[in-house]
Amino acid sequence: MNRRNFIKKTLGTGFFLGTSAYFGNLINAFPVNQSGKSGYNLVAVRGGEPDVMLDRALQSLGGISKFVKKNQTVVIKPNIGWDVVPERGANTHPTLVSRLVKHCLDAGAKKVTIFDNTCDNWKNCYKNSGIEQAAKDAGAQVVPGNSESYYQDVDVPKGIVLKKAKVHELILESDVFINVPILKSHRSARLTIAMKNLMGIVWDRRYWHANNLHQCIADFSTYRKPDLNIVDAYYVMKENGPRGVSEADVQKMKSLIVSPDMLAADVAAAKLFGMEPDDISYIKMADALGVGIKDLNKLSIDRIII
């Protein structure tokens, strides 16, 4: 990072140096567990289009302005892992992403950025998922995640297996982090939802696969919890995940789960998919690490059917 810092200094903006000093505090600025407050801490919506369901969910949570303040920078992490079209249910729905961008900008966000460390060729993924165009049209900046030079070393102090990771600089630089995974089948992780989606903000995923995948997913979810998790369950890939073979793998579920609690979002989404959360190792491991609330009975849930 020396070269980068050198350039930054010579540019004399001092902008990022200032903000990076400021992050440390910001990471924990938004309490994940909002049970002390009145209102819901998990919203589940069914039966609408992605944008409509998002509007309803955010409304129920008290508006996006609860999470995004004026002049803040926002990073949105959808799942853009695969070079396939939205109907294949492998990537987050573009309509959902674009609506979210609009909400953030309406709330006064200074800048909204979007990226993913894709599995297939990143440019094709960005393009064919429809997310690049949708996000740009809505006013977001679409940022690449294709090169190691975007990623910076971080410690994962609470990690049991995963002690270090390389994380995309946008996650380190942005004030607000919104996680927008898609719910789908995944033979090795069982399901990929919110916690698994964070594999797309790190560089070296091979290490995870080689060193107890489930424990690494749980470990990393202690690192920086997203301020908000929006689980897209509109097109749900029921088998052959995470890439899928054809549209026949997909069931139209027209659902959305939104929660500031990543673990709770995963538990609810797993149930929606038709799986027992306890059958998914990383959910149990994350519970042991205190990532969030696993028992949905302890949450205040708003269930909306459109």
Partner: protein, 518 residues
């Protein structure tokens, strides 16, 4: 001026095709410029006999009319040499050339040697090493592209610091020692020739220059000095980079002339221009009859060779298959050739390693080999699954390959081409050894030729179905085991047809009214 701008256009466009990492240019534009590159076009035509590869006929026709127009207008290496020669301005003020005697014996011997080697023995090694377009490609890709990417990345950093993310970083994956060194050697050779001796490379070594020189002997129009107009100032000889203007006899040796037309523009009296030459009025003062006949027969031999090339080639290929495959001991991995290349034999007989596909491969899975494809195709691009994997829907390389070594295919055809088969080594697998979940291979597989089946303790372990595998290498790339992968692609010597993956049973939309299971 027109000649220089055309030449610069070819040079700049071809250079950018080799530099570009973002696939900014359509394959049609690329094909437009590579269509009339002589050697690639001839190889393509020998292989497929379609108009797609008939550009060489245009060049030969041009040459039959006006001489070696190719050398100063279309050839990117020619333009590179001219640019290097211009560097002299920084050292000496003048570009001054002197007439030199032609070394046709050496030059034409090289042409004949290349011909025998590449057509009769179906071994493109010498073309790989000597074809100017291929040399230009190798130099551009191995030496210029890293510089281009370096500056791109610096620029990206600057923009990123300002919070602008319009451009993106690129990691240059294809730096290999061999391709770098060989390109460097090529560049040094070209530099020395062009800096000190004008277009000597074109008139001593280049097989394209040689072939066109032979054809020029039959050309209809030749540059001539009109003797009554000539004042003998010698200006033309001083600017002739082919060193082919003999001031004593006021004669231009058209066989070496690269048609740069510097002489025409520098001549104060306008004494130089094209004149029609009838074969009967052979210029006896320069060429005697026996020499002429020798060259005529050479040309005849060449054309005959070209015509019979296809049948010859097929015969030789069947021999070559046995020869080359027999050399590889069992257990050793063969290189995987890209989809569209039919098989290893076709590929190694047709690829001259210009690296245009390496430069344009969106995933950078195509990487220069060393001699994996055999000595006939050093540096030919191979599928390197340690660096990346082949995109399921992508056919870029097949669309731009100028020689037809990778023949043009459509995405739907590509999905059925099996360039290799998946092999699973359970003893290397994370799931088997560590008893933890992994499945990276199956995640990446576009056809589910690698799928996960139940294993002990609720684990899932990969199972492979080679029949629906296309050999894209995604599994091998994603596999985290070191030093040896638990899953890899075994090359198909001849590409096969993969069965299409089965679709799962379609699912009804979920019942919305059911509400939530929590």
């Amino acid at each position: 001026m027109i000649r220089i701008s055309l030449s610069l256009m070819f040079f700049v466009f071809l250079l950018f095709f080799f530099l570009d990492f973002a696939n900014l240019f359509s394959e049609h534009l690329i094909n437009f410029f590579t269509y009339i590159q002589l050697i690639p076009s001839i190889i393509g035509f020998i292989n497929f006999q379609t108009p797609v590869f008939a550009g060489f006929i245009l060049i030969i026709l041009f040459t039959l009319f006006y001489g070696r127009v190719y050398c100063s207008t279309i050839c990117p290496l020619g333009a590179l040499q001219d640019i290097i020669a211009r560097l002299k301005f920084f050292f000496r003020r003048k570009l001054k050339y002197k007439y030199s005697n032609g070394q046709f014996v050496i030059h034409y011997s090289i042409v004949v040697l290349v011909f025998i080697f590449s057509v009769l023995y179906v071994n493109p090694l010498l073309l790989n090493l000597l074809d100017p377009y291929s040399i230009f490609g190798k130099i551009s890709h191995a030496l210029f592209k890293p510089v281009y990417i370096f500056f791109n990345n610096i620029f990206v950093e600057l923009l990123n610091c300002l919070g602008i993310h319009l451009l993106y970083y690129v990691d240059f994956l294809s730096f290999t020692f061999i391709s770098f060194i060989s390109a460097l050697v090529f560049l040094i050779v070209i530099f020395v020739f062009s800096f000190f001796m004008g277009r000597r490379y074109c008139n001593l070594i280049c097989p394209v220059g040689g072939l066109l020189s032979i054809i020029t002997r039959l050309s209809l129009f030749k540059l001539k000095i009109t003797k009554p107009l000539c004042e003998g100032c010698g200006a033309c000889g001083g600017v002739c980079k082919a060193e082919c203007i003999d001031m004593k006899n006021k004669h231009i040796d058209m066989n070496r002339c690269v048609c740069c037309y510097n002489c025409i523009s520098v001549c104060p009296t306008g004494a130089i221009g094209y004149k029609m030459v009838l074969k009967t009025s052979a210029d006896k003062s320069v060429t005697d009859e026996s020499r002429r006949n020798f060259f005529k027969s050479l040309v005849g031999f060449y054309i005959l060779g070209l015509l019979s090339a296809n049948s010859c080639q097929n015969k030789d290929r069947s021999v070559a298959i046995k020869k080359n495959t027999g050399l590889i001991p069992p257990g050793e991995r063969l290189p995987v050739s890209p989809p569209g290349s039919i098989g290893l034999e076709h590929y190694r007989n047709s690829c001259i390693a210009c690296h245009l596909c390496v430069s344009n491969c969106p995933t950078q899975v195509l990487q220069p080999s060393v001699t994996e494809f055999g000595l006939s195709a050093p540096l030919a691009p191979r599928m390197d699954y340690s660096k990346s994997f082949c995109n399921y829907d992508c056919v870029v390389c097949s669309q731009i390959c100028p020689t037809g070594a990778i023949k043009p295919i459509e995405p739907e055809v590509k999905k059925k081409i099996q360039i290799g088969k998946v092999r699973f080594v359970i003893e290397n697998c994370v799931v088997y050894v560590d008893r933890t979940d992994c499945g990276a291979c199956s995640e990446h597989c576009p056809t589910k030729a690698v799928h996960m089946i139940p294993f002990e303790n609720d684990l899932y372990i990969p199972e492979v179905r080679p029949d629906i595998c296309v050999g894209c290498g995604a599994c091998e790339y994603a596999c985290p085991t070191v030093p040896f992968k638990a899953i890899y692609v075994e090359s198909n010597v001849l590409h096969l047809v993969a069965s299409l993956p089965e679709k799962s049973s379609p699912k009804d939309d979920a019942g919305i009214k059911d509400g939530f299971p929590f």
